[in-house]
């Protein structure tokens, strides 16, 4: 029988599909529902791993993994204060593969937060938020959508953090929601609206559950779809601007035969010759199938393999059931908020409200502050860009370490022992110093180079360093009573406390 023909079967298994014409490759994209969001042809430059590290793709694959595991977990989780903790215990011990689902969902959530940050770093450092001069694209707006996605990802992760209803969850949410209360005037009302009462309880759990499982995922998917649709509308990755530049200076080639059809009554014969001025041509682009699709497939499979592999070795912690009467010592927020918690340790208003607001607004405004159009898609723009990046890293290192040293060695209350006004300490503290130092650097570099791009690069690199250092300090160097411990110092095992 024919299907037993081993050779044909083997060929079908091992040899990838090789379209015989551009037309066949194109209809491979257009005719397939799953592939229709890819362009017909793709720039060779944007396929390069170093252009994007495929971070956006990886983030989306992780989001899909989170959705699939999350839906299954919804069947197994009960959002009530009596049952929530025990349904998580059941996942770990009584449900077949429950431990795997929970670990995969948790590790993917952490990975997604990290990946969204890395993706943002990549887009910034390659200048991919710029509109471009040849075709004014809406990439600045897409950057704003991206920052919105970052905020939504953090909110999703934060709301999911409460659901296990253990000590870790309960106190991270206590600290997190009390930060909202630090907002002047409307703070306490906002906190009570989030909690659905005056203390964390059943109304809080159901609120966070619905936000985590319905409202925030819907918003995230809607904005993510918009984000990806915009990439197509803007002509692909920003490095395509380089192709556009080249197309602009390219000499009009000899007219070549590119379309063959009958043009009755307009031209004689059955052939017209067209000079193809478009950005993508035979030399600088390839059909999306199979060149892009096979890469995305490989990246997706690797992403899934790595996250499943990680969830086999990294345990999902579950502490004692939530107990409002006992605060664990130290009590810490999720890792990506520990940089903030470190600054909240100086002032709740400055570290918890003002700085996050300034950072999110500042991030959103980047493409509108920096409107220079050179080096789009190229890492650090050019040579001076690389030097200013190095300067920013060094500056961030020195200033952040300096502010940490002030916080540890000379707390403001020791320097000004006679001042009792809380407002004074909300304004004068290491977090404020850091904010002012970074803002000052932006304007100094801007003045020295007259380039918004170099100023932005230096400030952004300093911001990355500060974020990493503060997060590391909050995670690894803070022990019981939020005291400072070097990595080689052991934490006291029996704290002197009632």
């Amino acid at each position: 029988m024919k299907f037993l023909n081993i050779t044909t079967l083997w060929q079908k298994l091992v040899s990838p599909w090789r379209p015989e014409s551009n037309r066949e490759a194109g209809s491979g994209i257009v005719a397939n529902f799953l592939l229709h969001w890819f362009p017909n042809r793709i720039s060779v430059r944007s396929l390069a791993f170093s252009a994007s590290f495929y971070l956006g793709t990886i983030t989306f694959v992780i989001l899909l993994a989170l959705t699939v595991t999350g839906v299954v977990l919804m069947f197994l989780y009960v959002p009530s204060v009596e049952r929530a903790y025990w349904s998580i215990k059941d996942l770990d011990h009584a449900v077949s593969f429950g431990w795997l689902l929970r670990r995969l969902h948790r590790i993917s959530a952490h990975l997604m937060v990290a990946l969204v940050f890395l993706h943002m770093f990549r887009v910034f450092l390659t200048g991919s938020y710029k509109a471009g001069e040849i075709v004014r694209s809406a990439r600045p707006f897409n950057w704003v959508l991206g920052v919105t996605l970052l905020v939504l990802t953090l909110l999703l992760s934060f709301t999911g953090y409460l659901l296990p209803w253990d000590q870790l969850a309960f106190w991270a949410i206590t600290v997190g929601t009390n930060i909202a209360a630090a907002v002047p005037v409307v703070g306490e009302k906002t906190r009570q609206f989030l909690l659905g009462g005056t203390v964390i309880g059943q109304p809080t759990l159901i609120r966070f559950y619905v936000l985590h499982c319905a409202l925030l995922p819907l918003a995230l998917f809607a904005v993510a779809a918009w984000h990806m649709w915009r990439i197509r509308k803007d002509g692909g990755l920003a490095i395509v601007e380089q192709d556009r530049q080249e197309a602009l200076v390219r000499k009009p080639a000899e007219p070549k035969k590119s379309k063959t059809y009958s043009v009755l009554g307009i031209a004689s014969g059955t052939t017209v010759q067209v000079n193809d001025p478009t950005t993508l041509n035979e030399d600088n682009s390839v059909p999306s199938t199979p060149f892009l699709t096979i890469r995305i497939l490989v990246v997706s499979l690797l992403t899934l393999a790595i996250s499943i592999g990680l969830s086999l070795v990294v345990r999902a912690p579950l502490e004692a059931a939530a107990n409002p009467e006992v605060t664990p010592n130290p009590a810490k927020a999720p890792w990506y908020f520990l940089g903030l918690q470190e600054m909240v340790g100086y002032s709740a208003l400055m570290g918890g409200v003002i700085i996050p607001t300034v950072v999110v607004l500042g991030l959103m405004l980047i493409p509108f502050l920096d409107r220079e159009q050179k080096g789009i898609g190229i890492w650090f723009t050019d040579g001076p860009g690389r030097r200013w990046a190095a300067f920013g890293v060094l500056y961030g290192l020195v200033t952040t370490c300096g502010c940490l040293a002030i916080a540890l060695l000379a707390p403001m209350r020791d320097i000004f022992p006679t001042i009792e006004s809380q407002f004074f300490f909300d304004l004068v503290n290491p977090a404020t110093f850091l904010l002012l130092l970074f803002a000052g650097m932006y304007f100094l570099v801007l003045k020295k180079t007259s380039s918004t791009r170099y100023a932005a690069i230096a400030t952004f690199c300093a911001f990355i360093v500060a974020f990493v250092l503060l997060t590391y300090t909050g995670t690894a160097l803070r022990g019981p009573n939020w005291d400072f411990f070097w990595p080689w110092q052991a934490w006291p095992s029996h704290p002197m406390a009632l």
Binding site: V175, Q202, E325, W482, A497
Partner: protein
């Protein structure tokens, strides 16, 4: 003078001034306003329903036991997050909720109690409070002296129930830090 714009099918009315109003433009703005008003009206019950009118939370005023049942010194009432201090026949209660971000503070006792004057109040200090979340510290009578805590710990009203002779703590009523109930 009214003139008809045949290409759009809209009637253009010259008002004589600089602004040119079209019926289509006016209707468009009217539609926008009605939609916005409708969305506002519709969102009010949606959001208002999420602000609770009845709270099923533990009462703010509760009995904690007879005065004799408490030891000399400090007792932490876990359930209510309150530190109850007893000096022979005098009682007072300090909140265990850190005024920074709401963690439960820990009481760290001194080796020996010592006389202390904090903000013109001289008292016998048994120890100090420490918060595990951001390292705030409070004196034995509640005054914050280190870390980010913005205010002193709250002191609550303590009464004696005439009916049962038990101590009653009212966490809805804040009192001065020199408040003492003498039984």
């Amino acid at each position: 003078m009214a003139s008809t714009d045949t290409t759009n099918g809209a009637v253009q009315i010259s008002t004589g001034g600089d602004s040119v109003q079209t019926r289509r433009g006016f209707l468009g703005r009217l539609t926008g306003a009605v939609v916005a008003l409708g969305a506002l009206v519709a969102s009010w019950p949606l959001l208002r329903s999420l602000v609770p009118n009845v709270l099923y939370e533990p009462p703010k005023r509760f009995r904690i036991g007879t005065p004799e049942s408490f030891q000399e010194g400090v007792t932490f009432l876990e359930e209510h997050r309150i530190f109850l201090f007893r000096e022979s026949s005098s009682f007072h209660a300090i909140s265990g909720v850190c005024t920074h971000l709401g963690c439960t503070v820990k009481f760290s006792p001194f080796m020996t109690p010592q006389e202390e004057t904090v903000r013109q109040l001289t008292y016998r200090a048994l120890g100090e409070f420490q918060c595990p979340c951001h390292g705030s510290k409070f004196r034995g009578e509640g005054t914050n002296f280190a870390g980010p805590a913005p205010r002193p710990l709250m002191c609550f009203q303590v009464e004696l129930s005439p009916a049962t002779g038990e101590l009653v703590v009212d966490t809805a009523t804040e009192v001065a830090r020199d408040f003492r109930l003498v039984v």
